[in-house]
Amino acid sequence: MSETVISVENVSYTYKSSQNETVGVKNLSLSIEKGDFVAFLGHNGSGKSTLAKLLNGFLLPDEGKVFVEGTDTADEAKTYEIRSKVGMVFQNPDNQMVASVIEDDIAFGPENLGVEREEIVRRVDWALETVKMSEYRTRTPFKLSGGQKQRIAIAAILAMMPEVLILDESTAMLDPEGRKEVLDTVKRLNKEKNMTVILITHYMDEALEADKVFVFSEGSLIKGGTPREVFSDFGAVEKAKLLLPVATAAGKALVEAGIKINVPLTDEELAEEICSLK
């Protein structure tokens, strides 16, 4: 039994400034089920981040509707409820921390929501444990690595007990090690706590383990499906200006040379496919 957490219905949004108008997204529809691990892929300006901001009510659609657990994001009385339900972690780990001590930073969200003192302490404990940063509780975030800072940022959102966790290019500024830390953390959250995760990224290899992948280009959804369905659609990948994982790119070259293999997504799969050539 799946249950829809977010549904986007024919949504369009245009950025307007005094000089010009830029399309953010146009006529988008999609839905996200509870417990899904979803990836939004696309290059800069493809509309993936605009969509994310529409999901938690940072932006309100010009046309169409966005519902979070049945609540319309345009309902002003529910703004904070929606924001606490759809938590968002941003790109730059340095610009989303408000306090100089880690536990204070994590407590900030629940404090804003007026949560009881004892409950805040419990949530801070839990959130830090979930991202495996408990021993850093009373330290300053300043000296942490990028990956650790982003895990703290995730904990800070978790402390608000959201239904959905959005990572808006939260791995883009990290080194490979930091990216792995953050991805492992959200994957674990998805598996163990059944947290709905939306991972926004331009690295295709981060989307490999997603349940569903949506590819965006110029404000439109050009492809949606399992990673295998999406990555095998070379036309869509090219149109979205994405970079195939090395194994997939090599597999594609072999297929194009007339060698009959299934398109691999990982290094292991490519090795299997080569092995099975008889």
């Binding site: 690595s145 331009h202 070259a253």
Partner: protein
């Protein structure tokens, strides 16, 4: 010999509770025409090392000679040094400051004593070199450009004074795939025709495998290996150093476990060629 580093050590915040040994007894030589990658986990001393080469950190222990300038001298000629060894930091677009692209790119040349006309000519050359049209961007504000374009302008700002050596710190960080591809081909095109030696600091092993002829591996402030990419990725235990393997190497290694022996390739192109050769042999 373009760069010679001998027994370089460095301690941050000496004699305070925050003291940290960043470099320990590092020695190496870089010759003309090389592409050198510097790799290592965060905090391994890579940045401290390259900042020394440019005289941005004052040499305390050891000896460094860059382009015949002795940095252990009492007053080394820093202007000449910095003109000869261009340095691009991480996210170089954040250092753009002038009101127009032209004046930002001319900033370096003017500081290094070019005349106004020479600087303008240098700026035109450099901007065109990074694949943008000088006449159409020169009067625009650098802040109006897209992320990838800003980074190109920042690179032009260094290329403009024609350094012999170019140091790049994570040149593709934060770019989207299209921007990344453009940046890598730009760097590849610079090497040779314009710059004799490129030193790249990178976390991305795929890029190191693709572009470097030589790799310096830093670990806890020490220079652990000075070797070639194929030696590093095929013979040494890279993962123990907190580094990942390039995908190309992983694929070759996985196949080796299955008794399929391919040549020790590094680039994606070579991998595809090797796989095609293998598959073709099978099919025939």
């Amino acid at each position: 010999m373009l760069v010679e580093v001998k027994n370089l050590s460095y301690v941050y915040s000496e004699k305070t509770p925050f003291e940290k040994q960043a470099l320990k007894d590092v020695s190496f030589v870089v010759d003309e025409g090389q592409s050198v990658g510097i790799v290592g986990a965060t905090g391994s001393g890579k940045s401290t090392l390259v900042q020394h080469l440019n005289g941005l950190i004052r040499l305390k222990n050891g000896k460094i000679t860059v382009l015949d300038i002795d940095l252990s001298a009492k007053k080394p000629d820093l202007k000449a040094l910095r003109k000869g060894i261009g340095m691009l930091f991480q996210y170089p677009e954040y250092q753009l400051f002038a009101d127009t692209v032209a004046s930002d790119v001319m900033f370096g040349p003017l500081n290094f004593g070019f005349s106004k006309t020479e600087a303008e000519e240098a700026a035109r050359r450099a901007v065109n070199m990074v694949g943008m049209d000088y006449d159409s961007v020169k009067d625009r504000s650098p802040l109006e450009l897209s992320g990838g374009q800003k980074r190109r302008i920042a690179i032009a700002g260094v290329l403009a004074y024609r350094p012999k050596i170019l140091i790049l710190d994570e040149p593709t960080a934060g770019l989207d795939p299209a921007g990344k591809r453009e940046m890598l081909s730009l760097i590849a095109s610079l090497k040779g025709e314009e710059i004799s030696t490129v030193i790249t600091v990178s976390h991305n092993m795929d890029e190191i495998a693709e572009f470097s002829q030589r790799v310096l591996v830093m670990n806890n402030g020490k220079l652990l290996y000075d070797t070639t990419p194929s030696e590093l990725f095929y013979r040494l235990d890279v993962e123990a150093l907190g580094l990942s393997l390039p995908h190309t190497v992983r694929i070759v290694r996985l196949l080796k476990e299955k008794n399929i022996i391919l040549p020790e390739v590094l680039t994606e192109k070579d991998l595809v060629a090797a796989l095609l050769a293998y598959a073709g042999g099978r099919n025939a």
